[in-house]
């Protein structure tokens, strides 16, 4: 017992954050701190966005009102939509995922804690930058989808639109990072025995959302980048007068914008699929089918974007195809709704506040869903599009389908975060006010839409039959504000006066409830071994059995005598369950470090077998400084101050370099833990490195997505046959072949090193590096030789943008190769795995493939 308490004491010292107040603000990287910061900040933005909405509703309460002037009204709806989408829902979901994905899979932190913190800081800076537009009187006013050419320089002079583009670009970066990190965390850091089919459905939903975020935000990032290039550097992509297309913006925006809806909605269904089983006291019905529904939703969401563009004059046949894919979403959602009903059937669940929010969700979301089916039909959408019918529809989907589950989730998980229960009575009052007033506020909007009230109008004329409905809607929206206020009061009061929550107040089945509330700084003491989907519901479940330090035995049963558990058939015992010996080794490796080593277990992606030990960085200023650097670049772009941009770039690059360069501690840790895990050195690649490799792979995915989107834009603007005059291909061909040779050399060098032969490593890798540099020089020179400038027309702009991006990613690749070479020369790769090298090589192959692809599309295709 004493050895155990010593161990816990050590863990506490390792994992508890710094105590000095400055460090406590700027240095934490732990998921429990950063996750809460995300959620609190996002909720503040939610309240601000709500206040903006109330101002708008006040203006619309009576016809021909002059409470707001048209400019201000346009600014308000732009800020309201953008705030709710980019600064509230998505970051809140990220925060929820950052806090609870590790908790639900028994991990101690997210996969890349510094990235988590970095993501928070740039989100915060982006949000602040976005709102600072109010202080300089240059508030964005072209709506949250900022259609070109209205958002172009000609019709939106000044820097208002740049606030939108640049402020939101920062939150997009944050979203890309969080998405990738959630994917890796869910796939690599699960508790031993938690196979992918035992993963809680909320984690599944965050996995799907993480993927969708990685892709969707990358697309939006490219779109905003192109528009910013057009506005700031005079390039042209969206202006029809110089060969651009305003519709291209809509394609790019909605390729992001539609998945965005599901990025918000999928986690909400994950929340519902978590709350329903808890209060039904029964595992979710048809778990696998629900997972499939989530995956199909996530995938099909990328094939729906055109249904936002039915009125742009697209071919009718093509538009109708999107009716069909939109209907497919109805199947996936229908499956989930019926699975919840089947789970609840006959269980007479306790109607606690979270459960009420779930029921409210189903009731409201059904209405949003059926109107969604209606507007997926092309002819009806031609009528409903951009009318208040749409406003009603998406508020039913987003408030009913997302915000209500989020409020339920707060009520449900608050006890875990704060250790105190929220008040049930107050919660119920708040719920009913929110539920009823939401319908009062938004149901009339359906009718307003059918009465032909377009959206985004600051005023309407008397005698058009709209007066009563608008007034009703305004009254409802104020009541909704009161409901949300009550909810906030409930949260605040609970922090001080709430009843202590205990371990598992709702008697839920998932791992986040296994420990004390609030969780200790290290989250879990020893790896929790999972043998069921709802491990806490299994009679006799014990938290950890490693090393005999059994503790987390749960001593309650769901309503004792009423529940009968039957252990299923036992055939095939031990086939794929965690290997005891491996677990003991892993636990030893986890404990092996001196104070300050934050360690976590890595498991296999599908089976959940222990694979290795992973090192978590501790508190550091790096994320804050890097975010500061990136934000300075953004600010410089906004204010058009060159030196500031360069300063920011240098700060960010240096910090990222330091961040990626492993500390002596980390190297020592990796070396020692690998020795413990694999004493005989038999395993050529212990799994601890997989976390880094997955991260590198996700980075490659992001880079490839950017290039594919750029090429899509290029082809969209230029057409498949290319420009009439093909640019000279000789020099680019030489440069690209050099890269290919470099990639082959890298592959040879890495292959030899893996076999233990480091003889030719340095020359091969150096040669590859030189070829990379040669590519930069030759390709750069060939671009300088061209007789057209990037601002000439849309073709030239797209051509130079693709080339510029290729030069950028090759430069990064060269830097990574230099780093790998340096590490090798300094002997840092010995004794441990050449993981950083493998990651650099993976990135290098990706970059070479992308460079070749761009060469083919830009230079060869026009020759045909």
């Amino acid at each position: 017992m004493t050895s155990r308490s010593r161990a816990v004491e050590l863990l506490h010292r390792t994992w508890s954050g710094p105590t000095n107040p400055f460090a406590r603000v700027f240095m934490p990287v732990n998921n429990k701190i950063v996750g809460v910061r995300f959620m609190v900040t996002a909720f503040i933005f939610f309240v601000i966005g709500g206040v903006l909405a109330l101002l708008m509703r006040t203006q619309l309460a009576v016809p021909e009102n002059d409470f707001l002037d048209p400019e201000l009204y346009n600014q308000l709806f732009t800020m309201h939509g953008s705030t709710m989408m980019f600064l509230f829902v998505v970051p809140f979901i990220e925060g929820l995922g950052i806090y609870f994905v590790p908790a639900m899979i028994g991990a101690r932190d997210m996969a890349y804690p510094r990235l988590t913190a970095f993501g928070y800081w740039i989100y915060l800076f982006g949000g602040l930058l976005f709102y600072s537009s109010f202080f300089v009187g240059q508030v964005p006013d072209t709506g949250w989808f900022a259609y070109t050419p209205l958002s172009g320089k000609e019709f939106s002079p000044g820097i208002a639109q740049d606030f939108w583009l640049i402020g939101l670009s920062l939150t997009e970066l944050s979203g890309i990072g969080a998405g990738a990190e959630l994917v890796v965390t869910a796939l690599k850091l699960r508790a031993p025995g938690m196979s992918i089919t035992r993963m809680p459905i909320f984690v599944w939903s965050m996995l799907v959302t993480g993927f969708a975020m990685t892709f969707a935000f990358t697309v939006l990032f490219v779109a905003t980048l192109l528009l910013e290039l057009e506005r700031t550097f005079g390039m042209t992509f969206f202006n029809p007068e110089s060969g651009g297309s305003p519709i291209l913006w809509q394609h790019l925006f909605w390729i992001f914008g539609h998945p965005e809806v599901y990025i918000m909605f999928i986690p909400a269904t994950g929340i519902v699929s978590t709350i329903v089983p808890t209060f039904a006291r029964r595992p979710l019905a048809l778990y696998r089918l629900v997972i499939l529904a989530l995956l199909v939703t996530g995938f099909v969401s990328f094939g729906l974007w055109v249904h936002h563009m039915f009125t742009t004059g697209l071919p009718e046949l093509a538009a109708s195809f999107f009716t069909a894919t939109s209907f497919m979403i109805a199947l996936a959602t229908g499956t989930q709704i019926f699975a919840w009903i089947a789970t609840l059937w006959g269980t007479r669940p306790r109607l606690t506040v979270p459960m009420l929010y779930v029921l409210g969700f189903v009731v409201i979301f059904m209405l949003g869903g059926v109107t969604g089916v209606m507007i997926a039909s092309v002819p009806f959408d031609w009528q409903a599009h951009d009318s208040f019918f749409i406003v009603a529809h998406f508020h039913y989907v987003l408030v009913g389908g997302v915000v209500l589950p989020l409020l339920g989730a707060i009520h449900y998980w608050m006890p875990k975060i704060s250790g105190r229960m929220m008040n049930e009575t107050l919660g119920k009052i708040a719920f009913w006010i929110v539920f009823v007033s939401f319908n009062v506020a938004f149901f009339p909007m359906h009718i307003m839409g059918l009465l032909a009230m377009p959206r985004r109008i600051y005023t309407y004329q008397e005698g058009t039959g709209l007066d009563g409905y608008n007034l009703l809607s305004t009254i409802g929206s104020y009541a909704l504000g009161v409901g949300v206020l009550l909810f906030v009061i409930d949260v605040v009061l609970s922090l001080r006066f709430g009843a202590p929550a205990g371990r598992n107040p709702w008697q839920a089945g998932t791992l986040e409830w296994a420990g004390s509330s609030p969780p200790p700084s290290f989250s879990v003491e020893t790896p929790l071994i999972v043998r069921h989907r709802e491990p806490l519901w299994i009679d006799g479940w014990t938290g950890g059995t490693i090393d005999g330090r059994t503790d987390g035995r749960t001593d309650w049963r769901a309503d004792g005598q009423d529940v009968e558990w039957s252990e299923g058939p036992q055939e095939g015992q031990g086939r794929r369950e965690p290997d005891e010996e491996q677990l003991v080794n892993a636990a030893r490796a986890l404990d092996a470090g001196p104070e300050g080593w934050r360690a976590g277990l890595v498991t296999s992606s599908f089976g959940g077998e222990p694979r290795g030990v992973h090192f978590y960085p501790g508190p550091t200023l790096q994320p804050f400084i890097a975010a500061l650097g990136v934000s300075l670049v953004a600010l410089a772009l906004l204010l058009k101050i060159g030196w500031l941009g360069i300063a920011g770039l240098v700060i960010a690059a240096v910090t990222f370099g330091m961040w990626l360069w492993p500390t002596a501690n980390e190297r020592d840790f990796v070396w020692r833990s690998n020795r413990l895990l694999d004493p005989n050195g038999k395993d050529p690649s212990p799994g601890g490195a997989e976390v880094g490799a997955f991260g590198a792979a996700m980075f490659c995915v992001v880079v490839s997505t950017i290039l594919v989107v750029l090429l899509f834009s290029y082809l969209y603007l230029v057409g498949p046959a290319g420009p009439p005059q093909a640019p000279s291909w000789l020099l680019p061909a030489v440069a690209a072949s050099g890269l290919v040779i470099g990639a082959i050399l890298t592959a040879l060098a890495v292959g030899r090193l893996r076999r233990g032969d480091s003889g030719l490593f340095v020359p091969f890798l150096s040669l590859s590096l030189l070829l990379g540099l040669a590519f930069l020089a030759v390709q750069g020179y060939s671009l300088l030789q061209l007789d057209f400038s990037p601002t000439l027309n849309a073709y030239a702009s797209a051509f130079y943008t693709v080339n510029g991006f290729v030069l950028l990613i090759v430069t990064i690749g060269v830097a990574l190769l230099v780093a790998a070479l340096l590490r090798h020369v300094r002997g840092l790769l010995e004794g441990a795995l050449p993981t950083p090298l493998l990651n650099a090589a993976l990135y290098w192959y990706t970059v070479v493939a992308l460079a070749v692809l761009s060469f083919v599309v830009l230079y060869l295709v026009p020759l045909l």
């Binding site: 305003p246 007479r348 599009h385 709802e534 529940v563 558990w565």
Partner: protein, 639 residues
């Protein structure tokens, strides 16, 4: 049966062999023989192959037992694959492929998505090998040994990355206009095209199914590969479908002969590439993923499912959610413009809306009823399982029911859409140009320009040609038709028709800047004769004013800044930034529907329109009181 194991190691490239058989070597034959031979060859070769395949399978079964060696499923897949190949290469599709892009696309899909996977599953070369004497069989197998060059090469090309890349690169490469054109003009290239499509598709499906030998593709990776494949196919399909112009000159030239528009044909082809393959990949991915998940579950020693009896919590009062709001809503619906159609297009949509609304209400009530039954019902039989059992309940309710409802709706919606886009000879053409924040209206047939009001003949279809001079606007006359955007640089067509005479309101529906709210217009539908009369009157240039007061007003107008932005026919004023004022006095409203057109409003508008429509493009005019009066008199005379 050990030889079968050896055979499993070997992986024949049967598809490519087969295709080369089909097309023969056309190069060396005299040209006049070529077409006849070429058209006969596939069928002959395929029939031969079919017979050999059946013989091989029969022999395998005779030796190894019924359904062994090559399973019954594989044998039927092989035969079906051969039939699909036959259907693709000879028959109406082959003939149509030269005329229609979409037919050619269908042919390619049949080759690569039907014939190829079926043939891969059917392992025809394995069947053919059975026809050989055992000694030759062994020799043949030896050539495919793992260590041999052929075996190594084969393993390289069926490596997931390689096979996928080959498949995708070949697919995209053939769609380049140059390559596609070559395939259409040269028979040899055409054969090569089909061969490479079939062959690369064979590799792709082999990589996914791995019918023989060890699986090398992770079972979770296979669905990912399918997702990615669907994505790239979708991108190509989308590009083809959404392209503004035909990609391939060949089909443009034949289009004149067939009478089918090359663009429509191309859109159909793009959709063919987009939808059926997408559905196939997605469905297959779901199935494989489900199997993979089940596989992990099956491999774990402790099952996830726990049977639990329902807990006996006390009775809770049943609560039915009153849909009072919905009832209140019907009052509003009755007045809704969208639902009070005044033209055939809006009429169709209105009917669609009511049917969808009723269905939606039924579905909602059903789901609410089930939900509240699930929660509140007092005694539940069957241990808490929903009726029909959990699985069937969810599948029927969540998948089958929506399909049953949505598929007819989809077809209705399609039919309705098609009906709204109807080129008619008898139509009147009117051009509408969007400006921030007013509408320019032109009657190109007679060269008349007007603003903020459209006159149309009742009962006759009108073709609106929509474009914009600045940002994107959207034309919405809710009583007549749905919306269509006015996009700068593009002309969109919208068909409207009014059943009766009368005045219909219309407005801008796409946010277009500060005064989006006040960008309205009126559509005056009148009998054909009065429309003709009205149009005729507009073609006559107005006479110079006789009344001295009015003439003085004209001088004020021509002497002020008005002329920089406005046109009045018959005078020097020819500015184009603002609305044409030639017939200002006949308009019903000012400022694109902001206020009624009367003397007071007109004066106020001229002096400071910013007070009436803040942010509009017209600056305040500083005029002496007398000047304003004569100016008003002049403007009011512009009939």
């Amino acid at each position: 049966m050990t030889s079968a194991q050896q055979l499993l190691e070997a992986s024949p490239l049967q598809t490519a062999t087969l295709d080369s058989l089909l097309h023969g070597v056309p190069g060396g034959l005299p040209p006049e023989l070529l077409p006849g031979l070429l058209s006969a060859l596939p069928m002959v070769a395929l029939s031969l192959l079919g017979v050999l395949y059946i013989l091989g399978v029969a022999r395998a079964w005779r030796k190894a037992g019924w359904g062994r060696g090559i399973s019954v499923g594989r044998a039927s897949a092989g035969l079906l694959g051969l039939m699909a190949l036959g259907a693709a290469l000879s028959g109406p599709l082959e003939a149509l492929a030269v005329l229609l892009f979409s037919a050619h696309m269908a042919q390619h899909l049949l080759l690569s998505l039907v014939a190829a996977p079926l043939l891969v599953l059917g392992v025809p070369l394995l069947a053919l090998l059975w026809l050989l004497p055992p000694r030759f069989r062994r020799t043949a197998v030896k050539g495919w040994r793992r260590s041999g060059p052929i075996g190594r090469g084969w393993r390289l090309v069926i490596h997931p990355v390689a096979a996928w890349l080959i498949f995708v690169v070949i697919l995209w490469a053939w769609h380049l206009p140059a390559a596609y054109g070559a395939a259409l003009t040269s028979e040899l290239v055409h054969v090569l095209e089909h061969l490479s499509l079939l062959g690369s598709a064979g590799l792709f499906w082999w990589m996914l199914f791995q019918p023989l030998g060890r699986r090398r593709l992770n079972r979770f990776l296979a669905p990912v590969v399918l997702f990615v494949t669907a994505l790239q196919g979708g991108v190509l399909g989308a590009m083809i479908t959404l392209a503004p112009e035909p990609w391939y000159g060949h089909y443009e030239r034949v289009a004149r002969a067939t009478g089918i528009s090359a663009l429509a044909d191309q859109q159909l082809a793009g959709l063919l590439m987009w939808v059926p393959p997408g559905a196939l990949y997605l469905g297959l991915a779901c199935w494989m993923l489900y199997r993979a998940l089940a596989g992990v579950d099956a491999a774990m020693s402790t099952p996830n499912h726990q049977r639990m009896a329902p807990a006996g919590t006390p009775y809770l009062n049943s609560l039915v959610m009153a849909s009072a709001l919905a009832i209140a809503a019907t009052g509003g619906f009755a007045n809704a413009q969208v639902l009070r159609p005044a033209g055939p297009a809006a009429q169709g949509v209105s009917e669609l809306f009511w049917v969808m609304l009723i269905i939606a209400a039924i579905v909602c009530v059903l789901v609410y009823a089930l939900l509240f039954t699930a929660i509140f019902r007092r005694r539940i039989p069957n241990g808490g399982e929903p009726p029909l059992g959990t699985g069937p309940f969810v599948v029927l309710g969540g998948i089958v029911l929506p399909i049953v409802i949505l598929v007819p709706l989809l077809f209705w919606s399609l039919a309705l859409t098609a009906g709204m886009v109807r080129p008619t000879e008898d139509a009147v053409t009117i051009e509408v140009i969007g400006h921030q924040w007013w509408w320019e209206v032109r009657y190109p047939e007679v060269g008349v320009t007007d603003a903020n009001e459209i006159h149309i003949p009742a009962g006759r279809p009108v073709r609106l040609q929509l474009t914009s001079d600045d940002v994107i606007h959207s034309f919405w006359a809710p009583g007549l038709q749905g919306k269509m955007d006015l996009v700068p640089g593009t002309v969109n067509t919208l068909w409207i028709e009014a059943d009766e005479t009368g005045i219909h309101s219309a407005k801008c529906a796409e946010f277009c800047g500060t005064q989006h709210a006040n960008m309205r217009l009126l559509i005056v539908s009148e009998p054909q004769e009065s429309f003709d009369e009205w149009l005729q009157s507009r073609t006559v240039p107005p006479q110079p004013p006789l009344d001295p007061l009015i003439r003085e007003g004209q001088q004020v107008f021509l002497g002020s800044a008005c002329v920089y932005c406005h046109t009045i026919e018959g005078t020097n004023a020819s500015g184009r930034l603002g609305p044409d004022l030639t017939h200002l006095a006949t308009r019903m409203t000012l400022g694109a529907g902001t206020v009624a057109n009367n003397r007071g409003n007109l004066g106020g508008w001229i002096v400071n329109s910013q007070a009436i429509k803040p942010g509009n493009r017209m600056p305040p005019m500083y005029l002496e009181s007398e000047d304003l009066q004569v100016l008003l008199a002049y403007l009011e005379s512009l009939e």
